[in-house]
């Protein structure tokens, strides 16, 4: 099973594409895919305090066929790697990947000399769009990641920008 090829249309409707992208960006359905610690912060983001549904991304889908974005939240091991790949391949186009947490970015603290079982980063086998560092990142960082992804899809930012570490304002 490979990544499905979407034939590009000969005629492009620029305005329509923009509209489509705007729709996509504001209803990013993530896949329920908790691997480890970061998954709990992902749950917190979905919980009452942070409320990811303000961004239209609260619809955590258990099935890859129904989701747009895969939030890789946790460590990917060699045993899990084929599974992650299969899940990604099953997602319909267009699809995005968010690598949440240090483990998904580079193997994190598990990247050491005797490493025999941890894949050093989701980008080894997936095209990652947004990286969210932290161990685990705060829920705000995940929200920031979703906003960054929206920005990437539509080309402009709909939400106010917060500088990293900005605590007042």
């Amino acid at each position: 099973m490979g990544t499905e090829k979407v034939p590009s249309s000969i005629v492009h409707f620029a305005e329509l594409d923009k509209l489509l992208n705007l729709c996509r960006a504001n209803s990013l359905w993530p896949m329920t895919f908790g691997l480890a610690c970061c998954a709990i912060e992902m749950m917190c983001t979905g919980g009452s305090r942070f409320d990811i549904s303000r961004f239209g991304a609260e619809v955590f889908r258990p099935s890859p066929r129904q989701s747009d974005v895969m939030i890789v939240a946790g460590t990917i091991t060699r045993k899990m790697e084929p599974g992650v790949k299969t899940l990604y391949d099953q997602m319909p186009e267009p699809k995005w990947v968010i690598a949440m947490g240090n483990c998904a970015i580079s193997g994190g603290p598990f990247k050491f000399k005797g490493n025999y079982n941890v894949v050093e980063g989701a980008d080894q086998f997936l095209p990652v769009d947004v990286y969210i560092p932290g161990c685990p990142p705060r829920p705000e960082a995940l929200l920031e990641g979703i906003m960054t992804l929206e920005e990437k899809i539509t080309g402009k930012r709909r939400w106010p920008r917060r500088q990293p570490g900005q605590v007042t304002g």
Partner: protein, 373 residues
């Protein structure tokens, strides 16, 4: 509730549950042999999140392994911090000041509360109730705020140090904890119990489901709420006291019904007992240093092996530390409670309906990275 399997051997089929399945709480995979909706054989397949903790313990120094302990059972990370710290302190002969012990108990119990609340939310999510998650996370966030204030992190704490804790608690934390205890006390009966525990749907789904006999618990080495729900009165905090737990007056909830409802009730009662412990610890909190003096930067415990056990939210967590006199552990065996608790899943799930087996699995309170380590 066991139903005899009546179909022909060639009519059974294999159903693959996981590793990506919302009910398995992570990346557990269960190979189920099914006869229609009934489970003939269930075989959990582990290792999808095996993160080499035991190998890493041998690679770095004792202090360098500390962050790993928080990443095994991230829901009750401080208990794992505690277990590891106890083992190393036992090996190196480090005395811990009293105030540090009290702070450890307070933070561990707060963490236990947050773990049980999350279990409650996730378990009810498995059973089809979404609202409880929102209520539980409201309370849980308040605990995390308190812990973040002290430890600096929300989930994977690396707060304990050999011979004490990283830093002292302040008055605002104490006041905040007292407020929180009051709040949760009033919410427990009026929100948690009224909304969920007495709900007829929950009772119907959990009563007489997942029957684990005390003998099965013993044979498989199950501990924690799973054993206590089967009438085994075993809690490391009482049976093999460590830290300053003997100072506190608390009960160990035991239910003899042996079903999923009993395990649910054990955890709900444990929330109340944890509140009691925190309250007493805050009252008795002594003054003094929070770190032992003269803890060498590089620990070199004498050769030999040492064992330390703590009661984590899921059962008895044990650390077996084998030292050869060097700077790092020669071998560190981490005995995780859910590894043993899950090993009885196969036997108990036989003959169950699939939907009930998922409710039963939720009542075991699995944290997969802790099983796989």
């Amino acid at each position: 509730m066991t139903v005899p399997i009546q179909c022909r051997p060639d009519e059974v089929f294999v159903l693959n549950l996981g590793p990506q399945h919302p009910a398995t709480h992570g990346v557990l995979r269960v190979k189920l042999t099914m006869d229609g909706e009934y489970i003939v054989k269930a075989e959990p397949v582990l290792g999808y999140i095996h993160r080499m903790h035991e190998k890493m313990a041998e690679a770095g120094s004792f202090a360098q392994f500390m962050p790993n302990t928080a990443r095994m059972d991230y829901l009750h990370a401080l208990a794992y911090n505690h277990g590891y710290v106890l083992a190393v302190e036992r090996a190196a002969g480090i005395e811990v000041p009293e105030r540090a012990e009290y702070i450890r108990v307070i933070t561990v119990e707060l963490n236990r509360l947050s773990s049980h609340l999350l279990w409650w939310a996730a378990f009810l999510l498995d059973l089809g109730g979404f609202t409880p998650l929102l209520y539980a996370f409201d309370d849980r966030e308040r605990i995390l705020d308190l812990l973040e204030r002290i430890t600096g992190s929300r989930l994977t704490y690396c707060y304990f140090r050999f011979g004490g804790v990283y830093n002292d608690i302040d008055d605002e934390f104490i006041a905040g904890t007292r407020d929180f205890i009051k709040r949760l006390r009033s919410r427990l009966p009026r929100m948690y119990h009224d909304l969920v525990t007495h709900n007829i749907i929950l009772i119907k789904r959990l009563k007489d489901i997942g029957f684990i006999t005390p003998e099965q618990c013993r044979k498989y080495g199950a501990t924690g709420p799973v054993a206590r729900g089967s009438g085994i009165n075993y809690d490391v905090r009482k049976n093999e006291p460590y830290s300053v737990y003997p100072e506190f007056d608390f009960d160990v909830p035991v239910y003899t019904e042996c079903d999923s409802m009993a395990r649910y009730m054990v955890r709900m009662d444990e929330i109340e007992q944890s509140l009691r412990i925190i309250e007493q610890a805050l009252d008795k909190l002594p003054d003094g240093p929070v770190k032992a003096k003269k803890v060498p930067k590089i620990l070199k415990p004498a050769a030999g092996d040492y064992y330390a056990a703590v009661e984590a939210a899921r059962g008895a967590f044990g650390c077996r530390l084998v030292c050869d006199g060097g700077k790092s552990a020669y071998r560190l065996k981490l005995r995780s409670p859910t590894f043993s608790n899950l090993s009885l899943f196969g036997e108990v799930a036989e003959g169950m309906l699939l939907a009930d087996a998922l409710a039963f699995m939720g009542s075991l309170d699995l944290v997969i990275p802790e099983i796989d380590r």
